[in-house]
Symmetry: none
Subunit: 203 residues, 4 copies
């Protein structure tokens, strides 16, 4: 079932998709409307027809980028019943390459950008982070209920660990232009799920 789009709506989505990439690479302040004009081939009026301000466009671009990358990171997870396997697949998905959105993780990038003086974006980042964290925590709790994971785990703390480790190693990989740190992080998190979280009996 293909969604039918008006011509205007198609243009709007094209702008969002291209802007998402640019904002993710150069940051909010580092990417001008001019840059987006060049990428889309539209004139200024053609862009401002669809968005009231750069900030609004940036917010939509973040949502788009986050949805896109979340789809990759969550790829195939729904069909996995076992929480441990599901988590490990989630980690493995981070190595799918190349990243669908150039410039690293939109969550990270936008968080840095929006930390000062852009409350609209900041809130979206917080919501995205919260949703991600909840998804991981839910998996952990489901695992505890089902006996896959040993009981007594702090699911929110584990989610923090997972996300922190992944995002941190994404930064390292970006600085070094080398995905080794990320691969190591995925390997270690995977091993951690098996060795520390899973109930000894089942292992």
């Amino acid at each position: 079932m293909t969604t039918e789009l008006t011509k205007g709506e198609a243009t709007r989505q094209r702008i969002v998709a291209l802007a998402a990439e640019l904002f993710n690479q150069r940051g909010y302040a580092g990417c001008s409307i001019q840059d987006i004009m060049a990428a889309t081939g539209l004139e200024k009026g053609g862009i401002y027809r669809h968005f009231d301000s750069k900030e609004e466009l940036a917010a939509e671009a973040f949502d788009y980028a986050w949805a896109t990358i979340s789809a990759v990171r969550g790829c195939g997870l729904d069909s996995i019943a076992d929480p441990a396997t599901r988590l490990k697949q989630h980690f493995a998905n981070f190595l799918l390459s190349p990243s669908p959105i150039l410039g690293g993780c939109p969550l990270l990038n936008t968080a840095m950008d929006a930390d000062d003086g852009n409350p609209v974006l900041r809130e979206r980042v917080q919501n995205a982070l919260c949703a991600w964290k909840t998804a991981i925590a839910n998996a952990v709790e489901q695992g505890m209920r089902s006996g896959t994971f040993r009981s007594g785990l702090d699911s929110r703390a584990i989610a923090n660990q997972v996300i922190g480790t992944l995002e941190g190693s994404i930064v390292l990989s970006r600085i070094e232009r080398n995905d080794q740190p990320l691969r190591q992080a995925v390997a270690r998190l995977t091993h951690w799920v098996d060795s520390d979280l899973t109930t000894p009996a089942r292992q």
Copy 2:
């Protein structure tokens, strides 16, 4: 023994210190020379007398910020002979608060900022990261030689893990405006040193 400074040098250092804070909070593109003028109380001529360009100032500001925060994070480490204890003290130093440089970790912030189109800054970030990583890896290797740590460890991989986890949780703490993720990361890394790296015999 106080270092004697010329008036100009004192002004220059004052500019660097204030600019470091501003750049760290708002990013390179998000912080204008005007902002630095306002912070220092100097006029433009008074700033550009000391620096040829904004980029040069930013580079020096990063060096200053990194040196400052490195001093905090490395506080008291020299007098600790045991590598395991030294690493754990290093982790604990991340919780010293408030951070001497507002706005989070300069390495992280500058990495995001300089990733595109500022090769000068980028190189400094890479060097800083490399130095940090080497320091941790050296501690690990020293520990392996002395028997404190079990042999066969990949010191560079461990350094990646440590730095990735710390930086990642700093991002989370910043997004949530809550230092809990960072505290959890420090706790987990500390526990990890004791449980995974240290030789079973000694434990």
Copy 3:
């Protein structure tokens, strides 16, 4: 029939007209874009949209000023067939007051300003002077051909005399803030045409 102008063209002409006055009063170096901003009520972006540089604006402003003042000095001349009468009317037009362009003669002022280091303006001044000189010389030659003036006159030399005398007395009038020198010059030139140039027979 009014000429229809786009909004931008109207703004552009307004800038030129106001800048012409300011440049003529204060000189190229003595009049900043800020001054023109204040006079026009426009911001910098609104001015630089229409002109690539201050120099380009100054060149157009000179052309405008010269065209304006030339219109005054040439007022009514086309309908005068007799060269002697036409010349005398030309002189008399210099006393029309107040000058449509404040600050004296644009030719003089711009010549002083552009003499060093502004070849673009300098050339326009030279062209303007050349055109003026030619117009006067043509009148003299026409007069010689028609018998109004005695033959054997050096028309270029006469033009030099006329222009030199007029411009020189404009300077004196400006220094003294008193139009008496200019009035005397006009009177003397007028008498000179009648007594020295005109053929004795006709007088």
Copy 4:
């Protein structure tokens, strides 16, 4: 008899002489202290030791330039008793070349420069003009008293004519980079003295 100068006074006069040339060529606004530093080989402090401000230096420079060029224009005049001959020698002196002060006539240049916003300079220009005018008028009146000139002449008006014609043709010569207009003016003024001012009897 050589005037004995302290070292400081010699430096001061050297500054004035060099500044006079520069100001005359580039104008007050177009000539910076930096330029004078380069010309004199002095540092800024070495210049400001002798003058409180650029304006004061400019005023002295004008006086120097005017005195210098007046000496040339008045060269040999004192020993000429006959006013007509003296005036004609005065005119001829304008063709002495090269001008001792580059950049044209300081009176003209400074008048243009100082017309707006530099009352100190403006007054000196007015005084210089007044003195010049008086000198010419005095010669005319002396000639009328002695019978060399026909009576009834308006000596001030004649002075205006003379000065206006000379200064105007200096401008033309400068614009065209050709001293022909000035030579023609001198020739015409000389002829004028003989034909119009001198008593017919004597001629």
